[in-house]
């Protein structure tokens, strides 16, 4: 297919149009325009599927890409170039990501039309959701850091709007501001990194950056004493940290659960938080050059383990899912850090699918029971069978049980982490990365199954509470009335809006879609010669191949390399950037890692089973009270930020600045003018009274009077005097004019 404006633009524009229409006319549309939003995402999905099929099923090469640009503005003057180009950059990774984002977004939109039906913020939700989707799609399509940043910020704004959508609840407003501000801290660094790159390279397009890395333009460039690549890499990663909720900028994501559940599903599970990982993947050559990949891996490991520990003691379903999101994002960052480019991206895709499904299922649970706290749930297996099935499959995926997608991607990451930590000759402290990674995997399995067992198994505990929890939505039309003391649980029917999206997402949590084989190894080939298609197609960019690649305008001819990859290549590709001399070690690391992760996953499930089903082992929150308190307070990081840094540090600084501004500056520069004005007023009053009034106004009258006195002499009325004057004047004429 030809990549023209007509084939690319609808991906991005259809949701924007839906946003505009809903924003202005939403109230007048039937059902406040939710079908319009869903349909627009469907349009995007169709076009994305077209691109995906073209890249994946067409003739291809692994490093082929489509890069088309147009000049946004060109303010160059003479030799000073100031030109910013915008465009699209689609390679295999972007094609897969487009399909995932648009597909998941479409399913979430369909689900939301059922979920938000009776919500008071129904219309508002469907204004921001398509805008957000279009921003994410634009971000995936964009070819340079500027447009990425633009879409980044649009997503931040939509996240803010959606978190704070219940604007009557004070906590929602606080949470939305917290989200925005925390990601803002990251965004400042991102912009700093972008500017640093732009000032030295002259362009922020990915292609140009790769070419610059290959040509060695980064050598010797320093910013503030640090090498440019390191500085830019760290700054860009900090932006990713903010958006992808890595430690220490993770504090906003648990509070973001104040927003409606489908919004959380799209934003805080599948797409926006993945944008940080996507950015790190795009900028991976820069990170490698700047030698900060170890830093990324360590941060990712800390996040993965820390969030998993906090999730152990959470009682709200959505909080458990939020912390699990943070934890899995940590895994993705571990993947980026240890060099496992392909597996990190695969984990991004698989996580998006099963996390979205988990959130939607949680939404379904909450919608039916009107209860979020797990101590009050239980025994919902009978009432919500489809939801239970979907959630079970996704939990198996996230826990890393073989045959499921989560196992494929997480296992590969952990294998690479094992190699990185123990065998690749890095600093011995880097061993912490795989240790934390495996520990986190075990904890993940444990707490996810804890959630499942508490929610769906056992006896229903919601009848015991007499509290009315209003979540802002009413009942599904029909069967059950509203009791006074307890809520009736709505049994689930197979509804295409509320269940089918879940089931479709569940379908894609099976592992073979991604690995091409049933087990993730060579056994059980499903796709024929194109097995391991994912591993082959997505690889870290080889920067040498980007040097001097011609750039195409949008109307140009497609110049992709249209050669088909030979089947023989499949067997030797290992997913790394190029053939690796340490292949034997890597292979053994993977084998050890696979065995270890299977053992740990099953151990976690078993422990949860013992604790919550058989009740043989006491829940460990009873035994470890001290640690539980620390975990419940999320390691007191929130307190650190708010109480210590903000209240003690920054507020004092703020007060000092305010004192300066109001006491010094305002007093002199602003109020001082009042004194000056008074003096000016007095002078002008004097001027007005004396000069203008007395001299000018009255003076003219007096002058006229005086002159009148003079003139009166000549108006004596005596005729002979008039004669005299006449003669005098005549004589003077004659004497002066010499007639």
């Amino acid at each position: 297919m030809e990549y023209t404006v007509g084939s690319i633009a609808p991906i991005f524009l259809a949701p924007v149009i839906a946003f505009v229409i809903n924003a202005f006319f939403g109230r007048r549309l039937p059902r406040q325009g939710d079908w319009l939003a869903a349909f627009s995402i469907f349009v995007s999905f169709i076009f994305s599927a077209r691109i995906f099929s073209d890249f994946i099923f067409g003739k291809f090469a692994t490093d082929s890409y489509v890069h088309k640009t147009f000049t946004w503005f060109d303010l160059s003057y003479g030799t000073q170039i100031f030109k910013v180009d915008m465009g699209i950059y689609i390679d295999n990774m972007a094609a897969i990501m487009l399909l995932m984002v648009s597909g998941v977004a479409f399913l979430i939109h369909v689900f939301s039309t059922w979920y938000m039906e009776h919500d008071e913020k129904h219309g508002r939700f469907f204004i921001f959701l398509p805008l957000f989707t279009s921003a994410m799609l634009g971000l995936v399509l964009s070819d340079n850091l500027f447009s990425l940043f633009i879409f980044w910020e649009i997503m931040g704004f939509c996240s803010y709007s959606l978190i704070g959508i219940y604007n009557k609840k004070e906590k929602a407003g606080d949470a939305s501001i917290k989200a925005f501000m925390t990601t803002r801290v990251g965004d400042v660094f991102l912009l700093l990194g972008i500017v640093a790159l732009w000032m030295t390279i002259g362009s922020v397009s990915y292609v140009d950056i790769y070419a610059a890395i290959a040509e060695g333009k980064f050598a010797g460039q320093t910013v503030l004493g640090i090498s440019l690549a390191t500085f830019a890499g760290v700054c860009i990663f900090l932006g990713g940290m903010g958006k992808s909720a890595q430690f220490p900028l993770h504090v906003w994501l648990p509070d973001a659960m104040m927003g409606p559940t489908p919004g959380s599903a799209l934003i805080h599970a599948a797409t926006m938080v993945a944008a940080g990982v996507y950015l790190s993947l795009r900028m991976y050559p820069l990170m490698v050059l700047g030698d900060i990949t170890w830093f990324i891996a360590v941060i990712g490991a800390i996040t993965a383990f820390g969030a998993a520990t906090i999730a152990l003691v959470q009682t709200d379903i959505k909080a458990v899912l939020a912390f699990s999101t943070i934890s899995q994002l940590g895994y993705m960052m571990i993947g980026v850090g240890v060099g496992s480019y392909n597996a990190a991206f695969m984990h991004l895709i698989t996580h998006a699918v099963f996390k979205a499904c988990l959130f939607l299922s949680a939404g379904s649970v909450i919608h039916s029971v009107h209860e979020q706290e797990m101590p009050k749930l239980g025994g919902l297996r009978k009432h919500l069978p489809y939801t239970f099935f979907a959630m079970m499959c996704c939990t198996l995926a996230i826990a890393g049980i073989p045959f499921f997608s989560g196992f494929v991607s997480k296992d590969r990451i952990l294998g690479d982490a094992l190699y990185f930590g123990f065998m690749s000759g890095q600093h011995p402290l880097m061993a912490i990365v795989p240790i934390l990674g495996f520990a986190g995997a075990g904890l993940t399995a444990f707490y996810m199954f804890r959630m499942m067992f508490l929610t769906f198994f056992g006896e229903n505990r919601s009848q015991q509470s007499h509290n009315d929890h209003h979540h802002g939505h009413g009942h599904k039309a029909g069967s059950h009335g509203h009791g006074h003391d307890a809520h009736e649980i709505h049994d689930e029917h197979l509804d295409f809006r509320s269940n089918v999206p879940l089931l479709i997402l569940t379908l894609f949590t099976l592992g073979f879609w991604y690995a091409g084989t049933l087990t993730g190894q060579s056994f059980g080939n499903v796709f024929g010669k194109k097995k391991e298609w994912f591993k082959i197609l997505v690889e870290a960019p080889k920067v040498e191949k980007f040097v001097n690649k011609p750039r195409q305008q949008f109307s140009g001819v497609d110049s992709r390399d249209k050669t088909e990859l030979l089947p023989a290549e499949y067997h030797h590709q290992t997913g790394y950037a190029g053939p690796n001399p340490n292949e034997h070690k890597i292979h053994s690391a993977h084998t050890i890692g696979a065995i270890l992760s299977i053992i740990i996953a099953f151990a976690g499930v078993f422990l949860a089973f013992l604790m919550y089903i058989k009740r043989v082992v006491k829940p460990w929150s009873d035994t470890f009270q001290g640690i539980t308190t620390v975990l419940k307070n999320k390691y007191y990081i929130d307190n650190l930020y708010v109480d210590i840094i903000i209240k003690k540090g920054l507020l004092g600084f703020n007060r000092a600045l305010a004192w300066f501004d109001m006491g010094v500056y305002d007093r002199f520069a602003v109020d001082g003018w009042a004194h000056v004005n008074r003096v000016i007023f007095k002078a002008s009053k004097w001027f007005d009274n004396v000069v203008v009034d007395a001299i000018g106004v009255d003076g003219t009258g007096v002058a006229v009077n005086l002159f009148n006195l003079v003139l009166r002499i000549f108006q004596s009325g005596e005729i002979q005097f008039y004669f005299v004057m006449l003669i005098t004047v005549l004589a003077s004429y004659i004497w002066t004019l010499k007639i």
Binding site: Q720, V724, I727, L730, A731, W735
Partner: protein, 177 residues
């Protein structure tokens, strides 16, 4: 010879009459002295060969206007305006105040000087021309001129006289008190 004698006498009469008008206190005397001055001017006309003008002067001015003035003096009381001045200058033979007398003379002096300047330039440009004693009659010519060249002025002046008559009669008519 005769002409020069006539000229001299007429000039003397004219000027002395004029000065007398200026100086005398009694206004009746002033009118009579004016009459004498006008007769002198008529004589000067005669020396210039303007026979018709001279006769017209006597008929109209002397016989008409001065008489009119005398009538007016009679009708308005004819009082003598005695100067009420105390010092020497106030006793000067004039009907007016000493100050006006002074100012009048001064102004006249100024005007005199002015005109002398004018006349001297004219006199220099026209050398003295002495004529013989031929004085043709002017009546015929004047009659022709009045009807042919200056007929407009002639007619207008008749209208003017009419207007003056009616106006004078209207202004001075007796009013019922």
């Amino acid at each position: 010879m005769f002409m020069q004698l006539l000229f001299g006498l007429s000039a003397l009469l004219t000027l002395s009459g004029a000065i007398a008008v200026l100086v005398t206190k009694n206004i009746m005397h002033a009118c009579i002295f004016l009459l004498a001055s006008l007769i002198g001017i008529a004589g000067l006309y005669a020396t210039l060969g303007a026979d018709f003008v001279a006769v017209t002067q006597i008929m109209v001015y002397v016989g008409g206007i001065v008489i009119l003035m005398i009538f007016a003096v009679m009708l308005t009381g004819g009082k003598d305006f005695v100067s009420r001045a105390q010092n020497l200058l106030g006793l000067a033979p004039s009907m007016g105040n000493k100050w006006t007398y002074t100012v009048g003379l001064l102004v006249s002096l100024v005007f005199l000087l002015t005109n002398v300047k004018l006349i001297s330039s004219i006199v220099k440009s026209h050398p003295a021309k002495t004529f013989g004693n031929e004085f043709p009659s002017t009546v015929n010519q004047l009659g022709h001129l009045l009807i042919k060249d200056h007929v407009l002025a002639f007619e207008l002046s008749s209208v003017l006289l009419l207007g003056a008559l009616v106006g004078a009669a209207m202004i001075a008519r007796p009013r019922k008190q």
